[in-house]
């Protein structure tokens, strides 16, 4: 209980500091929290801005597509390299090397290849989300105790039973962590793509407001998107907790 009071106090202090600093400085560059609600109202009423709902749906669609493809590809590659040890030994270092490259390096090429439409954003979201999923599957498979597998097989467990009863529980907590960071990175990928060059989507609206120096509207949009991302991640953490409890 006392912890919650302190947390609230920290938040309040940060907001007051922000407000105080913003009042003393140039109002075009620095937007205090007190100006956010009215700016949010203007954004939602879409005065001077492109109508929001279409852009929100487009961005959500891009994120969904990117995450679905990243999960499908990541699980497939992860299990392929994890279960076929030879393939794993050859290709896992190559994957790890690619992961060491700052991802944004790939975006200009994707933009050139796929254009400014949704395809390049989805591709970038897939690229970012793919790695944590794949790497978590590989790490999870390594956590499966060999003895359990040997015992289960010697007792006559089939492939599916082996996977369902032995491997999945041992892998679950690592894998679900990877799936969660994959979602976060898919979201980042789509947003980065939209901010770096797009004609539609939430990132485009943010860029539009910023480009016209509508700083209050820009700040309101950023707070809105950040809150949505945190909410999504909160749901992810609840699911992660459930799965971890199931796996023990």
């Amino acid at each position: 209980m006392r912890v919650w009071c302190w947390r609230a106090a920290v938040l309040l202090a940060a907001l007051l500091l922000w407000e105080g600093a913003a009042r003393m400085l140039n109002p075009i560059l620095y937007v205090g929290p007190s100006r956010l609600p009215s700016a949010l109202g203007r954004v939602l009423a879409t005065r001077d801005l492109p109508p929001l709902s279409g852009h929100v749906w487009l961005t959500l669609g891009e994120i969904t597509a990117a995450y679905a493809l990243a999960v499908a590809g990541g699980l497939w590659v992860g299990f392929l390299l994890g279960l076929r040890k030879t393939l794993g030994r050859i290709y896992e270092p190559l994957l790890a090397a690619l992961y060491a490259v700052p991802s944004v390096v790939w975006y200009p090429s994707l933009m050139l290849f796929l254009g400014l439409g949704p395809a390049s954003k989805i591709a970038f979201g897939v690229l970012l989300g793919f790695f944590p999923v794949t790497l978590s599957v590989l790490a999870g498979i390594r956590q499966v105790p060999d003895t359990l597998v040997v015992v289960a097989v010697s007792m006559g467990a089939g492939r599916w039973t082996l996977f369902r009863k032995v491997m999945l529980p041992a892998m679950a907590s690592t894998m679900v962590g990877g799936l969660r960071s994959g979602l976060a990175l898919s979201v980042v990928g789509v947003l980065v793509g939209e901010l770096l060059g797009a004609r539609a989507g939430l990132g485009y609206v943010i860029n539009y407001a910023y480009g016209l120096m509508m700083t209050a509207e820009y700040a309101a949009l950023v707070v809105l998107v950040a809150a949505a991302v945190l909410l999504l991640d909160g749901v992810g953490s609840v699911i992660e907790g459930r799965v971890k409890r199931w796996a023990g």
Binding site: I90, Y91, V188, N207, Y218
Partner: protein, 247 residues
């Protein structure tokens, strides 16, 4: 399977991929305007290097400034949060939340205040790198076994001895991991700032090359940057293993 065989298989796979790519371009499966053949990329590579290296240096300076800032602020912050349970309970949810928010959202604002020069990119690098540092160092510090400290105190160790003999070796691995992870984050932040609002540096050059449809040059620059960051990461991992052996 020996290490040499694995290495040969890796080299063969990369060669096969490059050959397949070359064949796809020559066979007209993909348009060379958007995806140039590896031979075309190789052709412009030598010409791209003189233009790219100074810009790359520019970007690396920004990356280093932001990285240094992130480590100098992030490591002490992580140590404080990790060693004081009350501070951890109050502040950590905020740190994790800030870590989770896509940093790209506030880049336009940073660019608005600091302009399109060095400070924006350096600050962006710092913003990208600082949160993983704080989180990793705090987690490592919390994991220090309190029993070790209790035993040392009961045996009459003073504060300096505890810090030197117990806390430092226990915390060092997580600090090193954080410092290694932060390099890629800082580079990412600097590149992103240059792409979004820059007039110099490699990120700006990549974005401009893409918009000018100079695909072979773009691929050559991408290859140079990729090879550079892969070698930096491999070098740091090597260093880490050496340090681990030393401990």
């Amino acid at each position: 399977m020996g290490r040499l065989t694995v290495f040969a298989c890796q080299a063969l796979s990369i060669a096969a991929a490059l050959l397949g790519w070359e064949a796809a371009v020559r066979g007209g499966v993909v348009d060379p305007l958007f995806v140039p053949a590896p031979s075309a990329v190789l052709g412009v590579l030598a010409g791209t290097v003189p233009e790219t290296l100074p810009r790359l240096g520019d970007t690396l300076v920004k990356t280093f400034l932001g990285y240094a800032l992130a480590v100098c602020v992030g490591v002490p912050a992580g140590l404080v949060l990790g060693s004081r349970p009350a501070a951890h309970a109050v502040a950590m949810p905020y740190v994790v939340a800030l870590y989770g928010i896509p940093k790209i959202l506030i880049l336009p604002w940073i660019a608005l205040i600091f302009g399109i020069g060095l400070s924006t990119a350096a600050l962006s690098a710092a913003v990208f790198a600082i949160f993983p540092v704080v989180v990793l160092v705090a987690a490592g510090t919390r994991d220090v076994d309190p029993a070790l400290v209790t035993v040392a105190v009961s045996m009459g160790a003073n504060r300096v001895q505890i810090a030197r003999k117990i806390l430092l070796p226990a915390v060092l691995p997580s600090v090193l991991t954080a410092m290694r992870v932060a390099v890629v984050f800082a580079l990412l932040g600097a590149l992103l700032a240059e792409m979004l609002a820059g007039n110099r540096g490699i990120g700006f050059q990549m974005q401009r090359t893409a918009l000018a449809f100079r695909a072979p040059e773009l691929f050559a620059i991408t290859a140079i940057v990729s090879v550079l960051s892969i070698s930096v990461v491999l070098f740091l991992e090597h260093l880490n293993r050496r340090l681990g052996r030393w401990r």
